[in-house]
Amino acid sequence: MRVVLLLLSLLYTDLVFSSSVYLSNEDFLKQTFSSHIPKAKVLWQTKSLKPSIKKILGHLYESLRIRYWDDGKKTAWILEEIGKEKMITVGIVVKNSQIDKITILVFRESRGWEIRHRFFTQQFYQAQLQPDLQLSKPIDGISGATLSVRAVTKLAKLALFLDQQLREHE
């Protein structure tokens, strides 16, 4: 009986966690910028940026222009990448060219949702982008969530890279 209940609860957990919205974009931006959310801006995936983006993601970003929010002190990015089959939406805040916060906003896969927990996302805190486009800190994986971990790590690198481009053009 206990086994049946355990299996049912696992099945239920699976159903609950498939395609979950953990935080809306608006709430993520409110949390990041308090009450005053700056107006969104866009950064184009230009020819000069494409090689580095391809090196980071293994492919080009799905859209040509990427939306971000900048209050002069920090930038917020809402980026998407495929985990195994479906998109994971991640909110990333970059401050002083370092990751300030990573939040999983939408998780659509049926496995690997553990990446939303703080024990995973806080590993990125103060990570920087090195010249070889790698993070300055090692990120520990989660067994059973390898592809999701990989996707979030790529997006963290991408956010740092895009933020770097903004700073260079200022």
Binding site: S24, N25, K39, A40, V42, S63, L64, R67
Partner: protein, 260 residues
């Protein structure tokens, strides 16, 4: 005639019958052996022959597999171009756009961009068909859109309101209704374009590796094909057995002949 001679003659008779049947069975499956050898060899080297990445273009094969175009199809004509929704796929004339939709509500052309709108989504594509941005409720897009029109700026029409974006699609402001959606007349696609879209739609549906695999297993011809391959496989086993028996008996005959 001694008893030994009679026994030897009887054995020779058995061997002849066995040989006859071996020959008959061999001939009956010879074509299948050749066919399975060729398909098997090709399947062993699908990567070398790029059969896994080469797709069937023959419409007869698609009909044979029962692969048909989805029934859900909507067509729009903007600036002498046809924008078609076929199932979840979107085509600009015969070129497939890199987006997947549920139901297109409207299409517009604005500042060298294609704007394709769904109930809760807006896709911006450049003139080459690359996705510029996908906007949704999360990007501040109004919900329940029923159409799009251009009056200096893009205007999204919802059930009760209209929204205008004057800042390059960053934000949408509600405005007093000024725009009306043009009546969407029923559009018929030119036959040549229909054919091209059909080919493009099926461009990555059926690989040659799949066809070869189905030919090799007999599934290409349905249940009957599978049975033919199964029966042939049974005959191959019999042939192996009868071949071994013939070899064994001949060997014994030669051995006995030498002994005498």
């Amino acid at each position: 005639m001694t008893r030994h001679h009679r026994k030897h003659k009887k054995r020779k008779g058995h061997l002849f019958i066995l040989f006859q049947w071996h020959r008959r069975l061999g001939l009956s499956v010879a074509v299948i052996v050749v066919f399975l050898t060729i398909t098997g060899l090709l399947l062993n080297h699908t990567k070398n022959f790029q059969l896994d990445t080469t797709f069937v273009k023959n419409s007869l094969l698609y009909s044979w597999y029962g692969i048909r175009l989805p029934e859900k199809q909507h067509y729009f004509k903007v600036r002498n171009h046809y924008i078609s929704q076929v199932g979840e796929a979107v085509f600009l004339d015969a070129q497939r756009f890199p987006v997947s939709v549920t139901e297109i509500k409207g299409v517009a052309w604005y500042q060298d961009m294609w704007l394709i709108v769904e109930k809760d989504q807006l896709y911006l594509l450049d003139k080459e068909g690359n996705l510029i941005e996908k906007l949704s409720k999360n990007s501040g897009l109004p919900a329940n859109i029923i159409g799009i029109t251009i009056r200096d700026y893009p205007i999204l029409v919802t059930q009760n309101s209209q929204f205008i974006s004057k800042d390059d699609f960053i934000s949408w402001e509600r405005q007093a209704p000024i725009a009306t959606l043009s009546n969407t007349a029923t559009i018929t696609l030119p036959t040549s374009l229909q054919h091209q879209i059909r080919q493009q739609f099926f461009a990555q549906e059926l690989s040659w590796e799949r066809v070869l695999l189905d030919l090799h297993t007999g599934r290409f011809w349905g249940t009957a094909g599978v049975w033919i391959i199964d029966i042939s496989a049974g005959i191959f086993l019999l042939l192996a057995g009868s071949g071994f028996m013939i070899w064994w008996r001949k060997k014994r005959q030669r051995y006995h002949g030498k002994k005498k």
